[in-house]
């Protein structure tokens, strides 16, 4: 039982990270109907920027609590801004010129962009894994059954931070989409770009902003990933990207709460699979879920079924 609860917490943490990345996929798919294959690598960019800022600010595990919170906030903001510029550039360079071209064209440039980002990071930062010392340690012990030969179940500060900030971001984001003018124009573009343009919505700007927001959230996920696992390499975005995409599909692509839900479900499945079956095949589990969901339930948990128009 204790083991189960511990795994549940771990799953929620991992799922939050997947969910944050999945939002980027789902928003882009919702608005222009393409899979932004490079999104996983935007996440890597975010993680590398965060790593550089952490090193520049000299943040270590020994930094005092107040300073640490302020410094991490600063890291978060800087990383979000710089990664957002990457997201904007990718859209501008690789996707916008192909808008309206045949459907596989933007997907192929997206794969190209993903390769470019990965290898740009590899060439400029080296192929070796970058480890950092844990910055946030400790946690709240929930149960301690060590006396009876059990294990200690703890919710670490790190996990708490990830889950809480994901929750806050999700709430903020939902408000942004439902209450603001930007969210309105975004939903308008999602439904009908031409009509939205006729009614005075700047479609290009809205799409750009979608990419910017997706990239900013991916940067948050990047920082969380860095703090949680403490290691980075240029390849992390590939797996994380596919899994986040799986999460987006599982939740119903195009739906924001769906992305979050899908992320959490996928995180739980992966963690429980590793805990109870086999660690080696956890990626296979995730990929199989992707295939199964797409084949048998293409509209996902919360998505709307797609109607094919001729």
């Amino acid at each position: 039982m204790e083991y189960f609860i511990q795994q549940l917490i771990n799953g929620l943490t991992l799922g939050s990270i997947y969910g944050l990345i999945a939002i980027g996929y789902t928003m882009v798919y919702g608005i222009i109907g393409m899979i932004n294959f490079a999104h996983g690598d935007i996440f890597t960019v975010g993680a590398y920027v965060a790593l550089a800022v952490i090193l520049l600010l000299g943040i270590t595990g020994a930094t005092g609590a107040t300073m640490l919170i302020l410094a991490l906030l600063l890291v978060l903001v800087i990383s979000m801004i710089f990664t957002a510029v990457w997201g904007w550039t990718v859209e501008r360079v690789a996707y916008r010129p192909l808008r309206g071209s045949f459907r596989l064209a933007p997907l192929i440039t997206a794969i190209g962009m993903s390769i470019v980002l990965q290898n740009f990071i590899q060439v400029t930062q080296g192929a070796r894994v970058k480890p950092i010392q844990p910055i946030i340690s400790g946690g709240i012990p929930l149960f301690d059954s060590r006396a009876d030969g059990g294990i200690i179940v703890q919710l670490s500060w790190m996990q708490l931070l990830i889950i809480v900030s994901t929750f806050v971001l999700m709430v903020g984001f939902t408000l942004l989409i439902t209450k603001t003018a930007l969210g309105r124009s975004q939903r308008a573009c999602e439904q009908d770009q031409k009509m939205a343009a006729l009614l005075g919505v700047d479609v290009d700007k809205t799409i750009s902003l979608t990419f910017v927001m997706g990239a900013a959230l991916a940067a948050v996920a990047g920082l969380m990933f860095l703090l949680l696992y403490g290691v980075l390499d240029f390849y992390i975005g590939f797996l994380a990207g596919i899994k986040a995409f799986t999460a987006a599909v599982l939740g119903g692509i195009g739906s924001l709460p769906g992305a979050m839900l899908g992320g959490i479900v996928l995180g739980l499945i992966e963690v429980f699979w590793s805990a109870y079956f086999s660690v080696e095949y956890k990626d296979v589990a995730a990929f199989s879920i992707l295939a199964i969901v797409l084949i048998f339930m293409p509209s996902g948990l919360l998505g709307k079924p797609e109607v094919e128009k001729v």
């Binding site: 899979i35 590398y48 920027v49 790593l51 550089a52 800022v53 090193l55 520049l56 710089f82 510029v85 990457w86 550039t89 501008r92 360079v93 690789a94 916008r96 010129p97 192909l98 808008r99 309206g100 071209s101 045949f102 459907r103 596989l104 064209a105 997907l107 192929i108 440039t109 794969i111 190209g112 962009m113 390769i115 470019v116 990965q118 290898n119 740009f120 060439v123 400029t124 930062q125 080296g126 192929a127 480890p131 950092i132 770009q193 290009d204 590939f238 596919i242 995409f245 799986t246 599909v249 095949y281 990626d283 296979v284 199989s288 992707l290 295939a291 797409l294 084949i295 293409p298 001729v310």
Partner: protein
Amino acid sequence: MAGETESGTGQEQPVATTQPEGAQIKSEERADAPNLVVDTGPSGLSERLKQAAVATFVTAVLGFFFLPIRTSIAPGGLDITWRWSLYALALIFAFFGKLLVDAYLLSPAGPRVRAMVSGLFILGFAVLYAWHPLGDILFGTGQFEELLGSVLIGVVFGAILLGLVLLISRATGKIGTPATGVAAQKKADRITSFGTWSLRILFVVALLLPWIVMFLFPNRDRQLIDISILILTYVMLGWGLNIVVGLAGLLDLGYVAFYAVGAYAYALLAQYLGFGFWMALPLAGLFAALWGLVLGFPVLRLRGDYLAIVTLAFGEIIRVVLLNWSDFTGGPDGIGRIPKPTLFGIEFNRGEGGFADIFGLDYDTIHRFIFFYYIIFVLALITHFATMRLRRLPVGRAWEALREDEIACRSLGINTTLVKLSAFSIGAMFGGFAGSFFATRQGFISPESFTFIESAIILAIVVLGGLGSQIGVVFASIVMIGGIELLRNIGFMSVVFGENFDPTQFRMLIFGLAMVLIMVWKPRGLISARQPSAVYKERKSIGADVVAQGEGH
């Protein structure tokens, strides 16, 4: 070199500036007809300078945490090294790159503006070159000449690539312009005749290649033949994938899985049952085709981009299984000592009964290289001829019809599932053949060789060559695989870049950039052989305008 990436990113911005929907058609027309001025870019010099400054600023932001800062592992954890010179160079490159590319390629300027832009560029470098203190401050003492040298090499290499690209697209006619009637007939003929004569020349060269190489480069013949074998392997893989992506229009991102199935099929048959290469080869193709059916059956109901992701997932699943099923596949250690092929039972060994002994030659390892070369040459040719024949069969026509319009296909009573499955499994079969050849050539295989990157390389070759074009795949393989392999071996590169310079680390970067740029520039690939094999009354090439309207997914 990293600076070039940056400027590469910067250069594209003008294309997008305030373009309305469908502007792609315009830019394609512009690329093909220089006389037709469609002004979507900047015109005056001040405007150009302003945009270049913006591009430089974006580059500065993008590169800030990647170019000047390098995190590296130090004794007490991670450490930061500063590289301001690289950053400065990238920015200068972004500025002038944007100006020059704009003025000459994207939104062609008048002679006055061109002269001013070029003058500015030359002046800028001349000042830096002549006035050492400034160069020293910007780049560090004595660094400037070295950096300049590397930039020049990059520019020269880029220019050669660009020239080749232009040459090919010139030779194949104006691609992308809508054409009907006589013009279309001529254009189609021109593409076909270009394909025919270049194929003939290539065929003769390829047939005699080992002898040409031995005659011209007697000291490096093994190495060069080895590279040719590698190129031919990719040509074959490209042709195999071309059936799936180019003809049937199914984007398969997991093609490497079938390559892996073929390689492992031969390796395992040899290890457990003692099969030789020639017996295992058809079986490997069969296994791969079967896997194509097994994987294809559930996924082929999916739409284009979903299909791509699921095939990618399947490719990864196969790799992970190969990696973890250690008892059977050897896991990460792979399988070694895979037997070499024999020539009707004759082995290429030293000593009695070997090839050299029987034919009365002196033993030389090059015999085996030449033998390998001809095996892959024949396999690739088989792939080519099978594809060309299949295209004339009903199933091949159905593939092309499917690529153009799936709904119309279904309305006409074509069984799309069957058609898709046949494309998938035939493509997989050729991947399987190539895989078993790879296994026997390497003598050792492990899951390392079958990562997603490999799929991406093959896809890049198909895309760059032009979806559906056979000759395009050959050119793309030669340039992308051969070009990079040769770079590695050119002596002066290490003189300029230092001893540890390895151009292969830039390989994927160049691949990715080329993929993006070529797709943006010519979405149908360099040689877009989109004319259908079967025609009614007259040939019509499919113009970019039709494509842009969403036809022909």
